[in-house]
């Protein structure tokens, strides 16, 4: 069974806040849910499926279903870090195709600026061996960038082009945290955070959230919103698995991407717009290779010279400014990737970055630590 054309994204909402000292995390989830429902033209009582991940407070789905006042017959709290919400769209489509629900709500929200928190390994199986090494996202992704440079000659200047492209898009987004257009020199002259990643190779930290509504074809066609179909999806989890044959230059997207393209029956050459999770510049480069937009090792040349800038480049990406410039709510960027892809397919992106007649888009993401254990999810979305 394929999920192709079995489900549609009819509601998408990105919370405008980037700093929310006076709101609780559950409150932000609720505001995002209300925003997505209003966008779709649906009401709370229409929701019969709920999806959340590790950012949901308390007992996840149980706490949030009750807090939001939902009455659902399907619940899923699969946690793959920042890629969770891309994966949730796929799981929601599967549940809808199986008749388990017809209106699935996905929410994400959190306040890492107002209430900073550190990643804790807790009772993870690797905790005793890795809890003391001082791993943060910066040095984990830094090791991937260092290895990519070592194997393929990728340069800091090439990585910087990812940020430059994002900044060209963010200048048009009034909600973006960083709206100044930057140059390659600005990126490589910004302070080194963890080699070889500079400050401007890193995404923003923002409070906020987002929500999506994935619905059955019958529901989608009863609404007034443009039809954005889920055409294909893939997911994968990758880790060092015993430390044998370690490969930090290939991500879990090397499985999730081809699976999504195969289900959709399209190729990277067919894609008109790409939402690529940009926790760091290197995250984008590795995913572009793993999805097949270029060969492994050629990502640096692919992203250089503005190739990702809408209007001038061959592959417009992250036209909201992405995590690098716009928003990375609660350190998890998956949902904003889907939201901007939906805007593009609806023709609702900012006019300066809107891809003309955008009919086919990809949204892909990496969650967790790319340099160790991480998850990937990829969606192919189509305007009908």
């Amino acid at each position: 069974m394929s999920i192709r054309n079995k489900a549609y994204i009819s509601g998408a909402y990105e919370h405008p806040t980037r700093l929310a000292p006076d709101k609780s995390t559950p409150q932000l989830h609720a505001e995002c849910a209300a925003g997505a429902l209003a966008d779709a033209g649906l009401s709370l009582k229409d929701v019969d499926g709920y999806f959340c991940a590790g950012d949901a407070p308390g007992f996840g789905g149980m706490s949030m279903v009750d807090y939001l006042g939902l009455n659902v017959r399907h619940v899923d709290s699969t946690e793959t870090g920042g890629s969770s919400y891309i994966l949730h769209v796929s799981h929601a489509a599967q549940a809808i195709a199986a008749g388990k629900c017809s209106v699935a709500l996905i929410t994400l929200a959190g306040r890492p600026r107002s209430e900073p928190f550190a990643r804790q390994l807790g009772n993870a199986p690797e905790a005793a061996f890795e809890g003391w090494v001082g791993q943060s996202t910066h040095n984990s992704y830094g090791m991937c960038a260092a290895r990519h440079m070592h194997e393929y000659g990728t340069t800091s200047e090439q990585l910087a082009w990812v940020k430059v492209a994002a900044s060209h898009h963010a200048q048009y987004n009034s909600h973006a945290m960083l709206r100044d257009v930057v140059t390659v020199e600005d990126v490589i002259n910004s302070p080194m955070i963890s080699d070889p990643l500079h400050r401007l190779d890193c995404c923003v930290v923002s409070d906020g959230g987002g929500a999506l509504l994935v619905v059955s074809p019958e529901v989608a066609k009863s609404l007034k919103r443009p039809l954005v179909a889920v055409r294909g999806a893939g997911e994968h989890v990758k880790g060092p698995r015993g430390g044998m044959n370690l490969d930090l230059t290939t991500s879990a997207a090397a499985v999730s991407g081809p699976a999504a393209f195969a289900e959709a029956g399209v190729t990277p050459a067919d894609i008109q717009y790409a939402s690529i999770y940009d926790s760091f510049t290197i995250t984008v480069l590795i995913q572009l290779e793993d999805l097949g937009f270029c060969k492994k090792g050629e990502g640096g040349r692919f992203v250089a010279d503005g190739n990702l800038i809408s209007g001038s480049g061959k592959l417009p990406f992250n036209t909201d400014g992405g995590g690098l410039c716009n928003n990375h709510p609660t350190n998890r960027g998956g949902i904003t990737k889907v939201i901007e892809a939906v805007r593009q397919l609806r023709g609702e992106a900012h006019s300066a970055v809107q891809v003309p007649d955008c009919g086919l888009a990809v949204a892909t993401g990496i969650g967790g630590a790319l340099g160790a254990r991480h998850g990937a999810a990829t969606l192919i979305l189509e305007r009908q």
């Binding site: 061996f129 003391w132 830094g142 090791m143 963890s194 430390g243 044998m244």
Partner: protein, 132 residues
């Protein structure tokens, strides 16, 4: 600005891996070995991550090469280096490289295990450049 040496938090062993840390206290680096499929692994587990057969502990020579690394320079602390070190026995370990000059560390560089004290717990296996 005063720079502080990073304090190493104490690892919290469990019943599955206590022996690893008992050995670490004696200056020995243990890895997992599976006799069913023949593969070593790290970090060590009771059941093999390649075939789920029961494993045994074996001692590593504690030598290897840096697979990749990243030196953290953010904040007031002194820089420290996170790295994957590929042990000569095969598996790679996520660890730190103790070095006088982090700028001189490179991928491929030979390193040797250096057990390092922690805050009130057993020592942990960091690595340091091999002395020529």
């Amino acid at each position: 600005m005063m720079s502080e040496t990073r304090k190493i938090p104490a690892p919290q062993p469990n019943v599955e891996n206590q022996r690893f840390f008992d050995a670490a206290a004696e200056g020995k680096l243990l890895i997992g070995q599976c006799d069913a499929c023949g593969q070593p692994h790290y970090y060590p587990r009771a059941l093999c991550p390649f075939c789920l057969a029961e494993t045994r502990w074996v001692e590593s020579a504690g030598k290897g090469a840096i697979y990749s690394l990243s030196t953290m320079r953010r904040g007031a602390g002194t820089p420290y280096t996170l790295a994957w070190v590929t042990l000569d026995e095969g598996p790679a370990a996520l660890t730190n490289i103790a070095a006088e000059d982090h700028d001189r560390l490179t991928i491929g560089q030979r390193v040797t295990v250096q057990f390092t004290p922690t805050e009130g717990g057993p020592p942990v296996p960091m690595f340091a450049p091999e002395v020529a």
